[in-house]
Symmetry: C2
């Protein structure tokens, strides 16, 4: 089955997941959608996030995708279950693979999670982790300023260092040995976060495990593209196509020629 | 004419304008809409802001408003002209009154403007100021982190002081004597901004002038409510009604009992 994989995010962050899928599944075509008109999702209610995610899945299905990856932690935490009930196509989120990656990384079973307000409030990461191992200790913290700081380009900056230390200070008393970066923007802050938490804490980026889960799922269901298939990538956004294009060109290994606008409210 | 005034903003910021209208026009009823599902507008394109603003004006008209106030600088800067062409109802934005207030405040005709990326990029404030007085010198700066900082509650904080000094540093070399707070969130940062720019710079909040312009317009067109009319206020949002209610209760002089959700994409 050489049909494309549909990948979506509230904006550009999901491109870090798309990149990992391109690396691990080079023969799979991909349709990427970034909801740049309605970004961010991390401050919205479950109802709104489910409604927006449904419109996006409808759009991706209209493009003939064989599976959907929710490359956004907030939409994964709040909309995955609803979407899986509504659609027949297989849908993979970030949270379950992220939790598996954290269980693989931890030795002392004290796991930290950072994410948007909506992701942290949903408690989804904690639920999955406890399903995998009920004896795990989970410590969570919402970091709402991280996304605006990344988007303002303040990566290695004293203001970002200051916010990292404020948000992550509490983790110090819990002896965590792994920290889930539960928002696709956060891997861009790996340097200041690692400096603050120290080398003994493993930073867990769910993207790698998401691509691995996708690969396994496609193999199990006999849905993988043929080995000699040449992958094609298409990019769609709900707003600001030019800005998306310049960002995508920086993040992705292959040249992005075109980003097409979509009137997503009509889906 | 005792029909209500429609007031809208991308979220909660416009409540500072609503408050000023309540103060100056206590007999006018009001329908407030906050687009809390799709906030912020400051990072969106003109096309998207116009489309969203049209949906909102359609909604307000369905509630029988006699006039509309765009209580959002970004929507005013990017959508006012389009909306005025499309609708017969009088529509007032923030930019023209804000420019008038700045001209009244300045003595040396060196005026600074801060706002969102979209507002600053539009150049609308500068255009209006030059229309009022072609000899004016205009210095502008987008301050995209101010809104997230206010929403994170970091008002009197060293991080906010730091960002204020970074964004406003350039103004020091231009000898400005008045600074337009071109975003409804910014009046909440009056203290750190005034400390940095010094007492010789007047901070201009367009809200006062917007209410004054509205009052004049209603009088001229014989559309004002009767003097003995008891004003009624209704509040609508596209998401997160509870959060809006608790914020509105802090900002407004009267108790807010109810905030109603609206599926704004259907208008």
């Amino acid at each position: 089955m050489n049909a494309p994989i549909g990948v979506f995010d509230s904006g550009v962050g999901g491109l870090t997941v798309a990149r990992e899928i391109m690396r691990q599944l080079p023969e799979e075509s991909m349709i990427y959608f970034g909801d740049t008109a309605r970004v961010p999702y991390g401050t919205k209610s479950k109802d709104t996030i489910v409604r927006y995610s449904r419109q996006i899945v409808n759009f991706l299905l209209s493009k003939g995708v064989k599976a959907v990856v929710i490359a956004c932690n907030t939409a994964s935490a709040l909309a995955l279950a609803d979407l899986q009930e509504l659609y027949n196509v297989p849908i993979i989120g970030m949270v379950q693979p992220g939790a598996i990656a954290a269980m693989n990384a931890t030795k002392n079973k004290n796991i930290g999670i950072i994410g948007t307000n909506a992701t942290i409030k949903s408690g989804q990461y904690g639920q999955y982790l406890r399903k995998l191992d009920p004896s795990v200790t989970v410590v969570t913290k919402a970091c709402p300023l991280f996304v605006p700081l990344v988007e303002e380009g303040l990566i290695d900056d004293r203001i970002t260092e200051d916010m990292v230390s404020r948000y992550l200070r509490e983790f110090k008393q819990y002896d965590i040995d792994s920290l889930i970066l539960g928002c696709t923007h956060y891997p861009l802050l790996i340097n200041p976060i690692q400096r603050f938490v120290g080398d003994k804490v493993t930073l867990v980026n769910p993207a790698y495990e998401v691509a691995k889960t996708l690969k396994q799922m496609l193999a199990q269901r006999d849905m993988a593209a043929s080995e000699d298939h040449t992958a094609k990538y298409e990019y769609y956004v709900s707003d600001m196509a030019d800005q998306f294009l310049s960002f995508a060109d920086k993040v992705l290994p292959c040249r992005v020629d075109q980003v097409q606008p979509v009137d997503i409210e009509n889906y």
